[in-house]
Point group: D3
Chain length 298, copies 6
């Protein structure tokens, strides 16, 4: 079964010709939501066993915010934190800040473009724990910024239980971010993640000890961090840099270079590191640097 | 307390003298199911607090398929995917393909033989998330092959939420496979896993980027992959090979050799790698290669 | 937003001047419980949306044991293992052994002192899956020691499903232990963890194969094990030692030394390893050894 | 709002021209099930908020039996009697006796024809507790006849809790029976109810004391029993008889007569009771006998 | 224990001196909601075991509508009609018509004034199934009037399951209505209930058969209907009339008269019925008419 | 099928020859609990589908109190009143007053002796809503007497929702009371029910209006009240009296007489009422008085 069939390149990922940037943003959200509804309708028709699920999570809702608030409320609730309470909280938080929904749309698009296994927007919306954990974080972060910290921390805990993704609500995360597979991701309190970053599962952006203060990594725009990479301390991963799977990084990585290994080294060497042109956070090229990794041979 | 007492070697793991291979397979399933019921009955008598659990999950059922369909339905259900729906789906899928149950029996036996902490078949059936995630994958894979893809993907997502094990429904997995501990395992869309493979937790069989097509590892029969190993790309791990814990592998590993480290190297060197005789996926020997790992010293 | 504000150093972590050690222990528990109630009361007042949660989990209970039994019962229950059954079991187990609650208090204090993101005792009690998984393990271990093994194994399985933390009920764990973030931690059957140890997420204390018997690591007092470290086999990690993030350790690590890398090496070299004075399990210093790690450069 | 609009007389209630009685019965069930699906599809399209409910209860099922087993399993389950267990039990019981489904179809038709508030078959199937309680009774009665008495009694209890309808599983109930509104109906162990009977809410078919044996009413075909009527003891209510609302009956009522009042008297007098022609259980005429009830005046 | 102590007459039931009728209405709602919150706060402080319940249902909400939508959503939900869906639906419906909340306030006041067992507004809001069923009906009626009939009927069914109160969504109900105890109440499709009516449990306002059209009772303002009374057909119960417990009424009852018995007769006789002055729906005088009921003697 | 087979008279209902009254009481409880366990064990063996239910509700518990607390906690819980909270509350309340359990035993025996459909103690314990509602009332009454009124009222409300039985927590109820079928029973705040009383479903012991104070019926020892009877006001039903089904009683009924009809009259006439010898509350003779009811003829 040719996997490529799943995502025919002919499927458009954007509405055509927006008139202005602002209208484009808003039109873009409407277009993605319309796509999601069309996908869900098609799947509900083809698969009656899934129709109830698709109607309750997507097709009965009038907007992406409401669908997300419903889905997250039902996923994150517990016997002591009721779904109705969470749903209400999420709806109110979404309506307090339109950028939350815009970021969700950018994240949906990121998954759709970068992950070959992502066959549709609705697949990501419903099934990607990385996407859902990220949106829950965005909501928790908003609450944190409103000084509703105990509530934000309770959400972080629910996300860690339900999705095995542990992002401190104070962490700042840009738009168009893809957490692929996502299990085991840990992001600390003072971490910052730029736009268009791709982070695989088991990645840690951790602190350096028990000292307070600014102690977590800063990840530049367009960075790609491979599965199981551990980045510790207030270090900079420069824009467009790549961190190989399983790497352990405790020192800054310059822009557009590649760090690999445990301990991590720059591909091409510390003094003359290879520089790549493309944006790895978007190209998701995990392995083409092998040839440049001099001692990587079996 | 001598842990060895938990699994007296005198406990038989097979029925005696099957008449023919086919009868053997079927008789084997019956024998394992009879063992499971006997174990559950013994435990229910000894521990009334657990009896309700054992009756609902095992003792009230007439076959292993029904018990598994029930247990998985209750584990994987959510407020929007009801247990009755999943139970029904699983029952129907099991009855559409007898090899699903045969594979489950082989997996039960694999855990019982290879994992010293596995004190009984029923312990594995009820409590091993690796076993349960693998059976849920087998069901999802069957649905995938029947072109019921949105349903298969929804199951993948539930398994990832509930067990923190993320196996794409298109991945092909052989029989007698042990996912030990299992948390954090990620298996990509075009990955193939052979028979009698043992895979520890946090293992990734991942892709190489955003390109579509055949992009995930192929794991030969009898391979052992240690905890936290990351194998990326369409590479072959030859039959009987061993991948050490924490290794990062991006190139083929020849049969019956051992790859360790990040970046991974062959024990014995690239040119003259050591070759072992036994089947590590079954012997589960994680550490005897230390002596052969020349620079592994503290 | 200065993160340091979250945990003003002026907050006392101990009651003042206990009269005698025994009274101190008991008074200490009472003092911590009083702190927890005061924190919950303050948060309930400030955040009505969280008040119901805080009352049901903390403020309606007369002791830390009851609060923990309630919270764990509700977190770990499933459709086939009811919350009332678990609550009852936990209450009875707590009352059978006062050291269980004392250990919980020590663990709360460990999180509060060592983790800069831990803003209050109640935050840890309610939201830290590492803390909750550890207390569930202590209860399961007690059951294991009472030969109620099937019940203990069922609890292990629930903890692994719910928290993605897999600790065999036979493992022995000291007091004042911090499992930070905790997702993906695996601790095998014959492992032993000393007092005042700090273990980050994705850490494995694993076995060496399918042989039975004593086959898991022994972790000395005051050890710090970084994120993603894998320690395999019946090896000793000497007291006060430090294991770097992502390390793979298969040989003993001497006391107060630091092992890093995959394969792990001692900082300072095998023959003349650097020795540190402080107790890393308490200082949580993950990264200051960088300078000593000779080839750790980017 | 003219209520009559709800049930346009033009809606056909039967398929046209069945070839033979047997084929008719089977064809009738298929026709009703097709109607139900069409109604549900129409409602799901018109009301997205209800679509998830309609898909999970009706549209995802391949037969009326499966839909009923699912709906009853979810309605009658409790934390100690799981929905999956009940669903399985109901499916198996339905498949063991095709007359159970035929009776359900007859009951659906009875509600549709006799109750002006019954706007569709699907409305009855989903929302009429009298219909659902009756089908649950039919299933419990089957179990009773198979000597599975404790299970049958547990079902009776669940129906009494959930629907406030208490029918002993040994009671025998004919086809085409309408329990309208149904709350508070009590039917004793040795009661018998004929075909085409209509019974309003709060009706009691009770016993006469603590003596064992045949001690409950026998209700003939086509009887109508008004709201709140109490019929006690092994008495016969003759075919086509009518028992007025609130009546208390302890003696036989002859066929096609009307008993009213507390104590009940025959309309027309004991010696020369009025006899009506029509079948009141089908005509549902509750009140036209007023004129014949000589002293009924205000 | 003097029951009277429960409801000291000194407790004010109204805010003092509203400036204008409109302001009064709105101010009245605000005043009642403030009372409810104060009562809940007092009870939460006095009874920690109930505090979680009181916070989740009342104290965490910003308005009576939200509290009611939450409480009803959680009470009426099922595994196939999620609480979040109902909550959303109820919130939207409340906000579409302010008279729904005004009616709820009038009903709360009716219970508080007329029922000696009603110790507080919050007691009624949380615990009175008659009150809750009536508010759920008001919401369902609104949906019915918006031609969302399948949804309205599904709500009716849930109310009948959960509260054993069966009110057709087309029925029209005035303000200040008390359904006391409420179990078993049945109100038909074309029934109309006026303002300030009090209806005890087991009361039926039923139809007359299978004919469509206007076929249910019309209950005037201020009527009192005793427990178990059955009123059938399109009859008028005149304003201020009283219907005795257990009465069966099939003919009009003139204003301010009393009908008792089965069959019902007017107290004082058909020609010269006694007329009372007060409004029985408000005075709740069930039994003072005994002396006028000539043959009521034991 | 001879119903009598269900309850062979040979089954003993009491332990043999207790030494002393006190020992008898305590021994009696132990004996009944032993019977219940034996019955449940027998049923679990015969019916695996029910075994899980029987183990969780009965066989896993060490005493009747714990079994009842568990069963009621699970039956009465809601999403805002957790089962663990109720279980804890019930356990504590049972242990505060041993007479609560003694009353439960007397009620179990009453059902077993008086109700021919009650085939075993365990059937009553698990399945009789009248029994369960009565025990929940006893617990709520205890709380009421401890001035925990909001909690007692919340329980009353849950019992009314779940069992459709509405008993004010202030009402006083004797021992050996049978609420048969129970749906629709309403018992007011100042009502008193003696020992060995039997009350059928839909019975109201109601008040007289909105006046406060002592306003509900007082039911003497050994009284039998038929289905649907309504007794209103502070009237005495003398010991051993009988109230016919559907009767409406507003005046005292002398001891050992029978009141029937609406309005109720004494059988035998007001001046010379028939007096019966036996205790109708225990004999459950509902209908033998027919011959004495002069105008009861059809």
């Amino acid at each position: 079964m040719p996997a490529g069939e799943l995502r025919p390149s002919a499927v458009p990922l954007h509405p055509s010709s927006p008139a202005s940037p602002t209208a484009a943003a808003s039109g873009d959200e409407a277009w993605v939501w319309a796509q999601i509804k069309a996908e869900a309708r098609r799947d509900a028709e083809a698969e009656p066993a899934l129709a109830s699920y698709l109607y309750s999570t997507i097709l009965s809702h009038s907007s992406l915010e409401r669908s997300l608030a419903f889905h997250l409320g039902n996923k994150l609730c517990s016997s002591t934190l009721l779904s109705t309470l969470l749903y209400d909280l999420f709806l109110n938080t979404f309506s307090s800040d339109p950028s939350l929904c815009a970021a969700a749309v950018a994240d949906l698009r990121a998954a759709r473009v970068r992950d070959p296994a992502c066959v549709s927007f609705s697949h990501c919306l419903l099934n990607y724990k990385g996407f859902l954990a990220c949106q829950a974080h965005r909501l928790a972060h908003k609450l944190w910024m409103q000084s509703r910290r105990p509530l934000a921390l309770a959400l972080q805990s629910r996300v860690s239980d339900v999705f095995a993704v542990d992002i401190h609500p104070a962490a700042r995360i840009g738009k168009g971010v893809l957490f692929d597979h996502a299990t085991g991701v840990v992001v600390g309190e003072t971490a910052v993640i730029g736009n268009n970053v791709s982070i695989l599962h088991h990645v840690t952006l951790g602190g350096t000890g028990k000292a307070c203060g600014d102690r977590h990594p800063k990840i530049g725009d367009g960075v790609l961090i491979g599965a199981g990479a551990t980045i510790l301390g207030n270090v900079n991963i420069g824009e467009g840099a790549k961190v190989g799977a399983g790497s352990v990084v405790l020192i800054d990585v310059p822009p557009r270079t590649t760090a690999v290994g445990n301990p991590a080294r720059l591909v091409g060497g510390k003094e003359t590191p290879s520089k790549h042109e493309e944006c790895p956070g978007e190209s998701m090229d995990h392995t083409s640097f092998i040839s440049g990794w001099s001692d990587y041979i079996i």
